[in-house]
């Protein structure tokens, strides 16, 4: 930046500090350390051309590929002396913000950057379809609560269910990893511990110690349908996923309706209400239609290789009512099935006792899942937790196909 060169050094540092703050507000997590790093980097590289300055700051401030876009926009706006106001007005005009569904990626990102840079200049009200759950919770009949459909619960019952979900014990399955840990009956001799133990006794006795494979919970990837037909369930499912995310390390959650949104970070907030608010802020397609095939395709292409490693279990929450099922749906669900260790379909439609797999979308997807389970009340959630920890095969999807044939 040629024009920053003439500024006094203090002024220049200040500029970088403000820029870092703008980036932080735009959603790039930056600590004070990175500001110091940036100053050091700029000093090392010297302020040459705009391009070099750009990449110097980029090297320090951007730690994720996704953040490049935010950085780029913030940089363009922040370090542009002339004409930025016109651009700002153009970007904030109703034509741009009024049609978020058609232009999903960029206007949203710009909005975040603009909000960060000019906070207070113009408030962007995001519609939050928050259900107020302020009813005081009294201990209701647990039996009734256990089996009551989530869709038919009153606000008080929903609150009670939330508490119950929080208490669900997630005794998930353990898988063997390739890492070894001390083990009393392991199959490999742990020479290091053997020698140390024998040194303690003066080296006369050699008492063999062993190591065995360490076990670990596999990662969980949840794909949650948030279309209109699922709307009565999504909130409680999100609470359920928040509870899992809280209890375990590797949980990734994606919401999909007409497009796919990764809300794993939002769900990591400790407080469930804050987590859910953060979720709704990042999703644009609440209660719209469903495009399962498109969403699965997006997941397979962009995320599957990033989150489905190390034997992940996929929980697919959907009613399977695809708008227009075709061979693409079959292709994508098959690919998803082949890339994970276990694919569990959680379908709230199974609450109806006379459920038959008649819808074409459901018939297409069933052969490619390892399990299909109901998930419409607390009892079914509890059963899911148990089933996941037992390698249970008692929810074989083929029985549904046979029944409807």
């Amino acid at each position: 930046m040629p024009n920053t060169q003439q500024d006094a050094p203090g002024r220049f540092a200040e500029n970088i500090l403000y820029f870092a703050r703008a980036l932080r507000a735009a959603g790039i997590p930056l600590g004070p350390r990175s500001v110091l790093d940036a100053l050091e980097a700029v000093r090392a590289a010297g302020v040459g051309t705009k391009e070099d300055f750009y990449w110097t700051l980029h090297a320090v401030f951007v730690k994720r590929h996704e953040h490049s876009v935010l950085f780029d926009q913030a940089f363009q706006i922040f370090f542009r002396k002339r004409g930025y106001l016109e651009r700002l007005i153009a970007m904030m005009s109703p034509e741009m913000t009024g049609a978020p569904a058609q232009t999903p990626e960029e206007p949203q990102a710009s909005q975040r950057v603009l909000d960060a840079l000019f906070a207070g200049a113009e408030k962007v009200e995001r519609e939050q379809q928050e259900i107020e759950l302020d009813a005081s919770f009294t201990v209701s009949d647990r039996e009734v609560l256990e089996t009551k459909d989530f869709a038919q619960m009153t606000a008080a019952e929903v609150a009670a269910a939330r508490d119950a979900i929080k208490r669900l014990v997630l005794g998930f399955d353990n898988v063997k990893t390739r890492r070894l840990a001390p083990h009393p009956h392991g199959h490999r001799i742990d020479l290091r511990r053997t020698l140390r133990a024998s040194m303690k006794g003066g080296g006369a006795l050699i008492d063999l110690k062993y190591r065995g494979p360490k076990t670990k919970n596999p990662p969980v990837v949840a794909l949650l349908d948030i279309s209109g037909s699922m709307s009565q369930y999504t909130r409680l499912f999100l609470h359920f996923l928040h509870a899992i995310t809280d209890a375990r390390k590797r949980v990734h959650t994606f919401l999909f309706g007409t497009r796919l949104t990764n809300v794993s970070r939002a769900l990591r907030e400790k407080d469930p209400d804050e987590a859910l608010a953060a979720c709704s802020a990042s999703v644009l397609d609440w209660s719209g239609g469903t495009r399962i095939a498109t969403s699965l395709a997006a997941f397979n292409k962009q995320w599957s290789r990033r989150v489905l490693t190390q034997g992940a279990v996929v929980l697919l929450f959907t009613d399977g009512l695809e708008r227009d099922p075709d061979e693409r749906l079959e292709f994508e669900i098959d690919r998803l099935h082949r890339s994970c260790r276990r694919l569990v379909w959680l379908n709230p439609l199974l609450r109806f006792s006379g459920f038959e797999a008649r819808a074409r979308g459901i018939r297409t997807m069933l052969p490619h899942v390892d399990e299909m389970r109901p998930i419409h009340n607390l009892q079914s959630m509890r059963e899911l937790c148990e089933a996941l920890s037992q390698h249970g095969r008692h929810a074989d999807p083929k029985t549904w196909l046979a029944g409807a044939a």
């Binding site: 980097a41 490049s68 290091r192």
Partner: protein, 308 residues
């Protein structure tokens, strides 16, 4: 190995020159990150699709700066014993027996003798902290995403302070920090705490002009027309909706294969026969079967003709 330590580049332009001297044609953005990393003594974290030349950067750095290249290939279950150090237990046991035979009684003395540097087997990370006559070595931590979180956490100490702690010996610190290059294919997210200590760069696919330069530098003797067609075709392919787009490594493999086959220009039959060099998923190959290859080829040829 030379005794004189080759200096690190002084500017971004120098860095670019240094890289191109080893036939690595980099974008200015990458050169900036490398320059800063060398200058500030920080690790470089390179992320990108497979086959875009991430690992190559470490090799080129070691080659052009005349440094030793120490490579640590990550895998699931990688532990301290195979990444940092291991004691030579057999030799230790012999030493204990020998001490006993000599009639030594002092237990703490035996323990002290046994946990001596003589019995230490140094693995890559420890080797990288040792001084070298040619200057601090280049430490390549390859495909970090394949290791598990536990190992990643262990790396924090190494990367922040360039030191490791061995309980029996104490802390070993590098006099001069090695040049650390970490690569990841993004099969999982690396924790922010680790990334924070590094300079991050996303290595993308090169532009057509850049890729053409790379092909001509790396596959000597390739015809002008053929190389243009190859690059045009690969670039067109990356715009298709493929599960795995071909990387630069695949382009180079393909160019080598075609020049070995003495091809002068691309034709649909040759492309279909050699498609396996470029695409590694059956679905992707199936997508390009039928008239698709010819269609793409015609498009590339029309573009090349228009550019002339």
């Amino acid at each position: 190995m030379t005794q004189k330590i080759l200096p690190v580049p002084n500017s971004i332009d120098d860095t670019l020159k240094l890289l191109s001297a080893a036939d690595y044609l980099a974008d200015r953005s990458l050169a900036t990150v490398l320059f800063l990393a060398l200058r500030m003594g920080r690790p470089i974290f390179l992320e990108g699709e497979a086959g875009v030349g991430k690992t190559e950067i470490a090799k080129v750095l070691s080659q052009t700066l005349g440094r030793k290249l120490i490579r640590l290939q990550c895998y699931e279950g990688l532990d301290v014993a195979s990444a940092v150090y291991e004691w030579n237990y057999a030799a230790q046991m012999i030493a204990i027996r020998a001490a006993e035979a000599e009639g030594k009684q002092d237990r703490s003395q035996i323990e002290h003798d046994v946990f001596d540097e003589r019995f230490l087997i140094k693995r890559p990370l420890l080797q990288a902290l040792e001084p070298d006559t040619a200057g601090p070595p280049v430490l390549l931590i390859d495909e970090l995403d394949r290791s598990d979180e536990a190992f990643e956490a262990f790396l924090l100490e190494v990367l922040a302070d360039f030191q490791v702690t061995i309980p029996e010996l104490g802390t070993i610190k590098a006099e001069r920090p090695p040049i650390v290059v970490i690569t990841s294919n993004r099969t999982r997210e690396i924790h922010d705490a680790l990334k924070r200590r590094c300079l991050y760069h996303w290595v993308g696919y090169p532009s057509a002009a850049r890729e053409l330069e790379i092909v001509r530098a790396k596959v000597p003797g390739i015809g002008k027309k053929l190389s243009e067609q190859i690059v045009g075709f690969v670039q067109a392919m990356r715009k298709q909706d493929l599960f795995k787009s071909p990387g630069v490594a695949e382009t180079l493999d393909w160019a080598t294969a075609l020049s070995e086959l003495d091809a002068v220009a691309l034709d649909p039959a040759t492309v279909s026969d050699t498609l396996g060099v470029l695409l590694k998923y059956q679905d992707d190959i199936a997508r390009l079967e039928g008239g698709k290859v010819k269609e793409l080829l015609d498009q590339v040829q029309a573009e090349l003709r228009a550019a002339e």
